[in-house]
């Protein structure tokens, strides 16, 4: 193994493989600005409108679901309509371990990671076997089947009342300070996901993802091990989404499938992806915040009708903005998976 530190990048050579990490400070400017804005917004909300902190948590978590979902979409070349299945799996795993075994959040997180990865690996062959509409329908179906199971085995999952008595992230102390800490934790998870997925999308691994997304048969003919990459791109994002279920369970100290598994929750995630632009990592953050505050606004104005308005808004977005709101910003540029290289002759 050989480590080479250059002015603009760190190069790690292990065996016959080479890994590069750009560290040139000019690449850090924009991420620092974005992180600064998000942190500043959280602190401002804490001081001026602490009751809005839960909305920020929602926004961060919606973005944190949409970001790995974007990776899954590109890497499998298919749109998964059931990310909430993994939220349910992660949430129930954390809740059951916390209630029955008294495990703290740090330990249940490990259980959630294992459960999420296990379910991801179990379901990943779907992305190889099924394609197009069949894949979409199957992924749509799994959360609904899981929901039915929670109703059938009410002794375990407690049906629509859900599991309660889950240990919270923070006990004691001021409510608003705890909310701030939890909000910062959700922001940290979202930023961590963004960092991981962004790094993947700029690595040589992303070239294979992009090729699979465009034409998996040609990608395989050009030497890409499509099955392996699909399994990785399915299982790891599934694990990342399951962590959000763990967060919901410990944040609300109750967890019921009826809150997350139905289509209404999936619609919100889908709208985040639509507004952010399909497979736009930074756009998902914009989408997450937009949807969280739109929901807050709609509920305060139209009440329960908000659930009816959401699909209508989604339909309008699908027809009018196929590249999402964030796509308007990038309208004049190609949808790039990789930075464009300019080579001088």
């Amino acid at each position: 193994m050989e480590l080479e530190i250059k002015r603009e990048k760190i190069v790690l050579r292990a065996g016959t493989q080479k890994f590069e990490w750009h560290i040139e400070p000019r690449y850090w400017r924009n991420p620092f600005i974005y992180i600064g804005i998000l942190l500043l917004a959280t602190v401002l909300v804490y001081f001026f409108s602490p009751q809005t902190l839960p909305t920020l948590v929602d926004a961060n978590l919606l973005a944190a679901i949409a970001i790995p979902l974007g990776w899954m979409t590109v890497g499998t070349g298919r749109m998964n309509f059931g990310p909430q299945f993994y939220i349910g799996a992660g949430g129930y795993a954390a809740a059951l371990c916390s209630i029955h075994l008294g495990w703290p959040p740090a330990v249940t997180l490990l259980v959630t990671l294992v459960v999420g990865l296990m379910f991801g690996l179990l379901m990943s062959p779907l992305s190889i076997i099924a394609g197009g509409l069949y894949y979409t329908l199957l992924t749509l179906l799994f959360p609904l089947v899981f929901l039915e199971i929670t109703f059938i085995y009410t002794d375990i999952f407690k049906g629509d009342t859900g599991l309660s008595g889950i240990s919270p992230f923070l006990s004691g102390g001021s409510y608003t300070t705890n909310q701030l800490m939890i909000c910062l934790l959700s922001l940290f998870i979202m930023l961590l996901y963004m960092f991981i997925v962004d790094k993947i999308m700029r690595s040589k691994f992303s070239a294979s993802l992009a090729a699979i997304n465009d034409d998996e048969e040609v990608a395989e003919a050009m030497g890409v091990n499509v099955k392996k990459i699909k399994v990785i791109s399915f299982a790891i994002p599934a694990m990342m989404i399951a962590v959000i279920g763990w967060f919901y369970a410990h944040y609300y100290t109750t967890f019921s499938g009826i809150s997350y598994l139905p289509l209404t929750f999936m619609l919100k995630v889908l709208m985040v992806s639509m507004i952010g632009g399909r497979v736009q990592i930074y756009g998902n953050v914009v989408g997450g915040y937009f949807i969280a505050f739109l929901e807050l606004f709609l509920i305060s104005v139209v009440g329960d009708m908000a659930t009816v308005l959401f699909p209508v808004i989604l339909l309008v977005l699908l027809l009018s903005l196929p590249e999402g709101l964030f796509g308007l910003y990038r309208k004049r540029r190609y949808r790039e998976y990789l930075p464009t290289l300019h080579v001088r002759r």
Partner: protein, 245 residues
């Protein structure tokens, strides 16, 4: 010339249709082998069997001493088998540069190759195919002639030993077709690749190929030097009808 690929009694059927029926032939290193036959003769299916899209029902395929009959397509590519498509299949959302870089990254295993190294190597193949100025254009925005060039650049970037070229002249005007043929000839000279060339245009094969294999209804009906094939009465009958034979 040493033998590089051996196809031995390969058959493939789809339901009741026998697409390829007990076909055997060999390809020698450095030669250009023409594969011809009327529409529906099974030429593309045969290429799909060799490149791994389909698995043969019977028979075996040997490539440089490896039995590749049931090998996954990506493993065949890493061994040195590459192809182009009859109807170009670019990566529509990838730039020409990145399309070729994918092949450079994942084709034959290279030591210590990062994305930037692959992109640099890809520029060489794009330059060779006359597409350097189009390097930042998306696959979906290229013209048919440019797509043919991109397919060849992509295939060459995997550093193949054999390239299967599927009707490179289809849909091109005579000028473009001749440029495409010259490009193939140059590729053979500069990269030392062996070519299996599917083509309908007999004149092109007469000039470029050392041997020609003819398929009809999935069966091999003739094999030999292009001049002999052009004068073979059965081949003429299959192409033009019995009155011309």
């Amino acid at each position: 010339m040493p033998e590089i690929l051996r196809v031995n009694g390969v058959s493939k059927h789809f339901g009741g249709l026998m697409a390829v029926n007990d076909v055997s032939f060999t390809i020698n290193a450095g030669e250009t082998l023409g594969l011809m036959g009327p529409n529906g003769a099974g030429k593309t299916t045969l290429v799909n069997l060799i490149t791994g899209k389909y698995i043969a029902d019977s028979g075996d395929i040997q490539f440089m001493g490896h039995d590749i009959t049931k090998m996954a397509p990506y493993k065949r590519c890493k061994l040195g088998i590459s192809r182009t498509y009859q109807i170009p299949r670019p990566f529509p959302e990838l730039t020409a540069l990145m399309s070729v870089a994918v092949s450079a990254l994942y084709g034959k295993d290279r030591v210590n190759q990062g994305l930037e190294d692959a992109a640099t190597e890809a520029t060489h193949y794009l330059e060779f195919c006359g597409l350097f100025s189009k390097r930042n254009v998306l696959g979906k925005d290229l013209t048919l002639y440019e797509l043919r060039g991109l397919e060849l650049a992509r295939a060459l970037a995997t550093t193949p030993k054999v390239i299967f070229v599927d009707e490179v002249m289809a849909g091109l005007n005579p000028g473009e077709a001749m440029k495409a043929v010259r490009l193939l000839e140059r590729a053979k000279e500069e990269f030392g690749v062996t070519i299996l060339w599917i083509e309908h245009v007999m004149a092109a094969l007469m000039k470029a190929a050392q041997r020609v294999v003819v398929l009809h209804y999935g069966k091999k009906i003739a094999e030999g030097p292009p001049q002999d094939i052009a004068n073979d009465p059965y081949v003429i009958e299959c192409y033009l009808g019995s009155c011309h034979a």
